[in-house]
């Protein structure tokens, strides 16, 4: 498979782009790539309204893309479903109808049993402070969205990070803003909260000195290895491992890769598990890609795809290649891939895809600047990217065999 990828797909990918990669004013534009207009104010078409559409969670289920958004202060986010084959938005659901007082769905979506998906919410910050909730979502074949409030796992806290176990029976999460780890049994609805990975007083002083908040230092992504151990980051640029069977924590000897003096910025914000079971992670602090070998618990720094901090998303395609989104504001996100046995890091820069919709039938080019989410279809054929803008769209490109 890897040879096929290296010999056929990657050259084909290069040829199908509009011009040479890495050149100024040329963009990553594979032939069959396209954008779906999901956000547009004052439209006769079904669209998400302004400032409530930053796409911060994505999941692909067959032909359907489920999105969860984050809204500006005082506004409520949405769930939405788009069709890849129809290249259009099918359904939207205002989260205010299910859980009032929420600001965002930024955990991603995680599979339970059957077709159930789970996510956590971030509450709006205001005088009438509400907590975040667990959310159970079911997407029907026609794109219908059913969302059910599962309640508040950590009293007074929002949900910053979430993960489901391999069996789809248990959820693991990080609360916001204190950063406590919790487990949630889907069948019994029982929650357990642990303080072991939450930042301590000395950590909080360091964060205050560096003028960074919980968005910067709390673990943004969790992953479970093939043995069932859950991994995440914590204060001091360290990594923890949680054993769900023993309900116990251990702490890895290796720190996250860091730039000297900037360890305070260590935060895992993306994970992807390779077919061989190795865990690939992205450190937001300086945008390093690293690999964690779950058998040895060793971390290897693989380097950076670009100059900027952030590494917001990582996904393996059906070609076996690891795709990711590096960078972000104050610059732009860059789509990249990492081919361990081939070219290593390849920066694809800003993607620019054609967007066709009623009223713009001739097609317009859409350039992705602030891409923040990336998901692969179950068959690995499509990569779906979501923007984090005032008016955010979906950008989709096919991946070779």
């Amino acid at each position: 498979m890897r040879n096929l990828t290296n010999k056929i797909f990657l050259p084909a990918l290069l040829l199908t782009c509009s011009g040479p990669l890495l050149a100024q004013y040329t963009f990553f534009t594979p032939k069959e790539a396209f954008a779906i207009e999901v956000s547009l104010p004052n439209s006769a078409e079904k669209r998400l309204p302004m400032y409530r559409n930053a796409i911060t969670s994505l999941h692909v289920q067959g032909d359907l893309v489920l999105g969860g958004t984050t809204a500006k202060a005082g506004l409520s986010p949405y769930l939405f479903v788009a069709s890849i084959s129809k290249k259009s938005l099918l359904t939207t659901k205002d989260l205010q109808e299910v859980i009032p007082g929420q600001k965002g769905i930024a955990t991603g979506f995680f599979k339970g049993t059957g077709n159930q998906l789970y996510a956590g919410t971030l509450a709006q910050v205001n005088n009438n402070q509400q907590p975040g909730h667990l959310l159970q979502i079911n997407v029907g074949n026609e794109g219908t969205i059913e969302a059910k409030d599962l309640g508040v796992p950590v009293a007074g806290e929002s949900i910053f990070t979430l993960l489901s176990n391999k069996q789809g029976t248990e959820l693991f999460g990080i609360s916001y803003p204190t950063g406590r780890f919790f487990t949630y049994n889907i069948a019994t609805k029982k929650t357990q909260v642990f303080d072991e990975v939450a930042p301590k007083e000395k950590d909080l002083k360091d964060y205050h000195d560096f003028a960074v908040g919980p968005e910067v230092y709390l673990c943004k992504a969790l992953i479970q290895d093939n043995a069932g151990i859950v991994y995440g980051s914590m204060a001091g640029n360290r990594m923890f491992a949680f054993d769900p069977a023993k309900k116990s924590f251990s702490f890895l000897e290796n720190p996250l890769p860091a730039v000297w003096g900037r360890e305070v910025l260590g935060q895992v914000e993306a994970w992807a598990k390779a077919p061989d079971g190795k865990l690939y992670g992205g450190n937001a602090g300086d945008g390093q890609l690293f690999v964690l070998d779950p058998t040895t618990k060793k971390i290897k720094n693989l380097g950076k795809p670009m100059m900027m901090p952030r590494l917001q998303a990582l996904v393996f395609g059906r070609d076996g290649i690891l795709y990711g989104l590096a960078g972000g504001a104050l610059g732009y996100s860059h789509l990249f891939y990492y081919d361990e046995k081939g070219a290593g890091f390849v920066d694809l820069g800003n993607p620019e895809f054609t967007m066709v919709a009623p009223g713009i039938e001739q097609g317009i080019m859409w350039r992705g600047f602030q891409l923040s989410t990336l998901a692969a279809s179950a068959d690995g054929k499509y990569m779906v990217m979501g923007e984090n803008e005032a008016l955010s769209q979906l950008m989709i490109f096919p991946v070779g065999q």
Partner: protein, 414 residues
């Protein structure tokens, strides 16, 4: 140093302008033009030998009856000029990097924005990287820090009002003359900014455009500001509601207009407040009358193409300028960026809103007038102005900037 029309260079310039007009008259279209070389003057920028170009960087200051122009070497040096019509004098006020105390890592490539004025006689503009390194080098030592808001007046000089967005150029600016609120659009991410200079409160209202950034903002007489989204729909910053209002429908476009033209939207505007209309030209070569309303989006009327193009695509012509005479007629120069409706010539067109008639008044070889910008720049005597440049050898990008002064109703006193 002032530049007076009594010097030899001025005489040569006027002679050249006259020669071009005479020549172009002979080759012009069938319509008879009432104007002659005496209606036009080409005015040079003194004391800046490396000057390369002007962009949208021209504006009229009613308080002092002066025209202000930003002229650039299109790399890292920008001269700020003032033209005084009463004295026929063009003066270099100074260079932006010196007046604004910019360091080398804060280099600016040009003023791309128009120059807008406040009732107190101060002017405002924004700066732009102008080079592709602005977009790609970022945190590199040769990278671009970001475009600045700037204020200048003849008494106190230049005041640096700070950066809009880190790494982003600022393509255009406009002002609410009643409150002094500034509006701006950034490049390449097309973020719409609202800046209260008194409170130093800068707000980013987010990305509004697609892959290509529409270059023009404009305001109505209430101080609301307009832009376009990627569907070429008007987007209004409505000051009373402090919110963005999107038009339901797109501005008129010719059938078959490519998406690349649609996403670039409006290229020029001119206001006729007495008649309650703002004229617009789109990148798809439509001339449009827009009737703004204080609340909500107003009506739009399609006035047809900017010129009859025969067998050529109606959406093809490029018009980055628009002025309105005291006679209520519109004047614009078609051509630029290697896009000309008459081979290797730019053309000056008059449009009479009363009759709907469009007339080519003059044609200029692109070695004489390669391209011109300028929106709504008219002094109290009815002279209108374009910021132009010429490429004398018609090779590469070796242009020199100059200003066109034009009066459609009377001769220009030299």
């Amino acid at each position: 140093m002032n530049f007076h029309f009594t010097n030899p260079l001025c005489v040569a310039t006027c002679w050249l302008a006259g020669l071009l007009l005479t020549t172009s008259n002979q080759a012009a279209h069938a319509q008879k033009s009432a104007i002659s070389e005496k209606n036009v003057a080409f005015i040079e920028y003194p004391d800046f030998p490396e000057a390369h170009s002007t962009w949208g960087s021209i504006g009229y200051n009613a308080a002092s009856n002066t025209v202000h122009i930003g002229v650039t070497n299109h790399r890292d040096n920008i001269g700020l000029f003032t033209y005084d019509p009463s004295q026929n004098a063009m003066k270099l006020n100074g260079f932006i990097r010196d007046m604004a105390n910019l360091r080398s890592y804060q280099w600016q490539g040009k003023i791309h924005s128009k120059i807008v004025s406040a009732p107190d006689g101060s002017i405002y503009f924004t700066t732009d990287g102008g080079e592709s390194r602005e977009e790609y080098l970022m945190e590199h030592p040769q990278g671009y820090a970001g475009g600045f808001f700037m204020k200048w007046d003849s008494k106190t000089g230049l005041k640096n009002l700070g950066i809009g967005m880190q790494f982003e150029s600022i393509k255009d600016i406009d002002i609410d003359p009643k409150t002094g609120m500034l509006y701006a659009i950034t490049y390449p991410q097309a973020h719409f900014l609202v800046y209260n200079t008194e409170k130093n409160q800068l707000r980013d209202l987010g990305r509004l455009a697609s892959s290509h950034v529409p270059r023009i903002l404009f305001t109505d007489w209430w101080g609301n500001c307009y832009y376009v989204d990627w569907r070429q729909r008007l987007v209004k910053y409505e000051k009373d509601s402090d919110s963005l209002v999107f038009a339901r429908e797109s501005l008129p476009a010719f059938p078959g207009t490519p998406g690349s033209k649609i996403i670039t939207g409006v290229t020029a505007f001119a206001k006729d407040e007495a008649k309650g209309v703002i004229y617009l030209i789109t990148y798809g070569a439509k001339l449009i009358a827009f009737y703004p309303e204080k609340d909500g989006i107003g009506k739009v009327k399609d006035l047809g193409g900017v010129i009859e193009t025969g067998h050529a695509d109606a959406w093809g012509p490029y018009v980055p300028n628009l002025n309105i005479g005291k006679n209520g007629k519109l004047y614009y120069i078609i051509g630029g960026h290697d896009n000309y409706v008459v081979k290797d010539k730019t053309v000056l067109v008059e449009y009479d809103p009363a009759s709907g008639k469009k007339t080519i008044l003059q044609e200029y070889p692109i070695t004489a007038v390669t391209e011109a910008t300028g929106c709504d720049v008219r002094d109290k005597d009815g002279n209108i102005y374009f910021a132009a440049r010429r490429n004398p050898k018609s090779e590469g990008d070796f242009t020199t900037p100059f200003m066109i002064k034009f009066n459609p109703e009377k001769e220009i006193s030299k």
